[in-house]
Every structure is written in structure tokens, then in C-alpha cells.
Amino acid sequence: MKSKKILDTVIEKIIFCCGILAIVFVVLIFGFLLKESFSFFKDYGIINFVTGKLWYPTSAPPRFGILSLMAGSFFVTLGAAAVAIPLGVMAALYIAEVAPVSIRDFLKSGVELLAAIPSVVIGFIGMVTLVPLVRTVFDLPTGLTAFAGSIMLGFMALPTIVSISEDAIRAVPWNYKEGALALGATRWQTMYRIVLPAALPGIIAAVMLGLGRVIGETMAVMMITGNAAQIPAGIFEPVRTMTATIAAEMGETVKGSMHYRSLFSIGVILFMITFCINFIADLFLHRMKR
């Protein structure tokens, strides 16, 4: 009896330490990011950094304007949203409300499988299939464009959007649907007038989380979007995202240099953006639970 009690407290302590450790790591990472970026902001100026259009980190004098990189991230994310939101919400509706049980299980495992594909593989597949296709179909000099990147990233956001939206849709009380059907509403009317509005907070959370993944995604965008650091004139232009910049240039920088610290600063901006998105998603998830 006594040894059992000791074991209990030991396990409890271990779990406690793991929890604390996770928090400590987050704080350390964040502290490190802040330290590097603060010193950069002091040297270069935060305003110059976020509003500058030119990203020439190795020319003399170097230019560290990330507006074009933010625009690149923004464009690609927006495009991914345009692909993933309609597709994802429709798929979730189909899985939750329409599909017979056998098809539902099949589709759900399909969606889970999609989530399990590593992003390099998605990038690679996009590079050899989608990119040439975009180039020939739209008659462009290169298929490595924001458009191709958006489609691929849309697919990467899909699993999150589908599975969380599906949960939200299934959480809509049967009562509501029964009430609508009993008034003579068709299945479709019930869906878009009652089920969708009731599930909306959850769907918004799903979209936010899905897009959070898109903004933070690196590998696939680096392979497909063309990596030109310019403010794109349209979706058929090459772009470069914030993440791709960090990943591509970190290896070439001298530790502690201006360039090195500027990449950390991009990381901070990225962190703030994803933090906001996750925060909004969280708000809506809580609203859904209520």
C-alpha cells in the first residue's frame, strides 16, 4: 500500500516536471527570438523593416525590407484560403451530414492520410505535376507562382479544416435539425439555414487553424512559389514567403551578423501573426464549446 503511494507521488512529480519543461522551452525559444530581433530592430529600425519593399540582405548597403515577403505570405495564404475553405467546408458537410456510414469512414481515413503526408512530399508532387500544368495552361514563363503555391498549400490546410469543421457540424444538436425537418425544410435547407450557422464558430476556428498551418509552412512553398522577393502584381507571379526566406538564407549567414538577426526578426513577426491567428481560433473554439 505504502509503495503504491510513493509510486503515485513520483509519477505525479514527473508529469509535473514535463509540463513545466514544456513551458520553459517555449519561454526560452521566445526569449532567444526576442533577444536577436531586438538588437536588430535597434540597428535597423522596426518601421524600416516592416515597411521596406526591398530585401537585399547581402548588397552594400544591405536592405532589409520585408514588405514583399509579407505580401508573398499574404498572397499565398489568401489563395490557399480560397482553395481550402469552400472545398474543406463542403467536404465536412458531406462527411458529417450526407455520406452513408461506410463512405464516411473511408473519407475520414482519407483526410487523415492527407494530413500525414510530409510537406516535402507535397512540395515535390506539386513541383512535378502542378507547376508544369500551371505553366502550360496559363501560358506563363514559369509555373512557379503564387497560384501554384496556393493550390498546394490549400491541400495542406484541408485536413485541419475538414476534420475540425466536421466536429463542429456534428456537434450541432439533432434537436435543431429535427425541428427544421418537422417544419418541412428539405435536407439542404436544414443544412445551410440551421446547421451551418450553428456550426459557424467551429468552422471559423477550423479555418484559422488550417491557415495558421499554411502561414507557417516552409518546405512546400519554397519548392513551388518561385522565391522572387518582390511584391507580386498578380497571382501568376513568383513570390517569396517569410518562411521560405528564413529557411533559404539561414545557412548562408554569419552568426550574429545583421542578416542573421534580421532572419530572427522575420521569425518574430511570423510568430506574432500565427499567435494572433491561433488566438482567434481559440476564441471561436471556446464559443463552440459553450
Binding site: P173, N175, Y176, E178, G179, A180, L181, A182, L183, G184, A185, T186, Q189, R193, I194, P197, A198
Partner: protein, 252 residues
């Protein structure tokens, strides 16, 4: 009984292999309140839910026999189920207003059936809320969420939402079981008021309620309709032994 509003003939219902309704036959007259009583699990809800075919969605369900409403069998192939449900409205045990505004709740049926819009819609919403005695309290709160209402108000709203589409028949499945005794009495008064315009069927566990408000009563046991007739006769001088045992409280 003069006319038949609902005419059930030899109705059998199976949930997969479970025989839930056994050769039920009855006729319901218009503008009367008919109550269905019986112990838990005897099939009262199941029977009520065959009248608007809301059972249809359940997997493995099988129905034989006929349910004629105004003379036509609602289980005929090609019968318009959405139109049926407009004609035969249902109020559920747990009040289930939609998570929309009070106004949108009442307007819902009218909108989906494209029955009214604009000023006409407003007028019908007002009239329906007046019919359930909610208008005076809620006329300034129509844009508020229906989920802010009390249980009794919610149940009244659910009734208003029904009568807005001008049904013929109103089915109520233990509509007062979530309500306190005073709210129950007020809903009962409302039903008596409503029977001037509608044919009402109510499932209830509460025998006093059945005795108070209904004109006809059916007693069910284990999926069978044991006895059906004028309420006073069922309660004071039933023909069947089981009915007598149940209404005198000897079992159930």
C-alpha cells in the same frame, strides 16, 4: 365522429427486427384534442412520429399499413413529404427553438416555403406570436436570440413557429414535461384555444393532463393500441381490463 382527419389502418412499424407498432388502427376527428397515453416505451412517440414521417430518417425502419390524412395515404410512393410536414406540424418534448433570433424562428417556415416576405411576413410573425400569447412580452425583443427565453417561452415559440405556416394538424410529444406545473397549465389553456383552428394530437405521461384537455384518448401498451375512445369513457368506464389498471394507477 363526424369526419376523419387522420385515419390509421393496420399500421405496423419495425425498428430493424423490433416490432414497435402492432396493427394500430384509429381515426382522429378534426378540431379535437386527442391524447395518447401509456407506459414508457409502449410506442406513443413512435406512433405520433409516423404522422409527419419524421421517423423516415431512422436506419432500418420498416412501415406497413396506411396512414391517411384528408383521405390520401401519406406512405404512398411519391407523396410530398415536405408538404406533409408543413401541414402536420410537430412540437417536441425538449423545446427546440433554432439558435436564431425570435423573429427568424417564427419566420423560418414561411421563408423556406416562400410563403411570405416583407410586410406580410412581419404581419404573420406578429399574428403567430399573438396566438401563443408571446407578442406583448416580446414585441420589442424580436431580434434577440431565442435561446435567451425561458423554457415555457421557448415552447410557446416552437408552437408559434408551427402555426405560422398554417398547419392543419399539430402533434405534441410530451410538450410540458420540461415545464413547471404553472407553465404546464398555461400551455394546456393554449392548446384548448388552438383546437378551434387545428386538430391536435398529444402524447403525455400525465393522465390528469389527458383527462383535462383531451376529447379523445387512446391507451397503448407494448406497441398495441388497446383502447381508443371518448376521454371521459376511457377514464371512468374503460372497456378493457388493462386500460382500467393503467388509468387507476394499478401499474405503469
Amino acid at each position: 365522429m363526424p369526419l376523419k382527419k387522420i385515419d390509421v389502418e393496420n399500421l405496423n412499424l419495425y425498428y430493424s427486427s423490433f416490432h414497435a407498432l402492432k396493427s394500430v388502427s384509429l381515426s382522429v376527428a378534426p378540431n379535437r384534442i386527442t391524447s395518447i397515453i401509456g407506459p414508457s416505451g409502449c410506442g406513443k412517440s413512435t406512433l405520433l412520429r409516423t404522422f409527419n414521417r419524421i421517423n423516415d430518417t431512422i436506419e432500418g425502419i420498416k412501415i406497413t399499413g396506411e396512414v391517411r390524412i384528408d383521405g390520401s395515404n401519406i406512405y404512398d410512393d411519391g407523396y410530398d413529404v415536405d408538404a406533409l410536414r408543413r401541414k402536420v406540424g410537430m412540437v417536441f418534448q425538449r423545446p427546440n427553438p433554432f439558435p436564431l433570433s425570435i423573429y427568424e424562428n417564427v419566420a423560418f417556415g414561411l421563408k423556406i416555403h416562400a410563403m411570405a416576405s416583407g410586410a406580410v411576413l412581419d404581419a404573420i410573425v406578429e399574428e403567430s406570436l399573438k396566438d401563443v400569447l408571446l407578442w406583448d412580452d416580446l414585441k420589442d425583443k424580436l431580434r434577440r436570440s431565442a435561446l435567451e427565453l425561458s423554457l415555457e417561452e421557448r415552447q410557446r415559440l416552437c408552437i408559434a413557429r408551427l402555426i405560422a405556416v398554417k398547419p392543419d394538424i399539430i402533434l405534441l410529444d410530451e410538450p410540458c414535461s420540461a415545464l413547471d406545473p404553472i407553465a404546464t397549465l398555461r400551455i394546456e389553456e393554449l392548446m384548448v384555444e388552438l383546437k378551434k383552428k387545428y386538430t391536435i394530437l398529444i402524447v403525455t405521461h400525465n393522465m390528469q393532463q389527458a383527462a383535462r384537455i383531451s376529447d379523445d384518448t387512446g391507451f397503448m401498451l407494448l406497441g398495441e393500441l388497446i383502447e381508443f375512445g371518448i376521454t371521459s369513457k376511457i377514464f371512468t368506464n374503460p372497456a378493457m381490463k388493462q386500460t382500467e389498471d393503467y388509468v387507476t394507477g394499478r401499474f405503469g
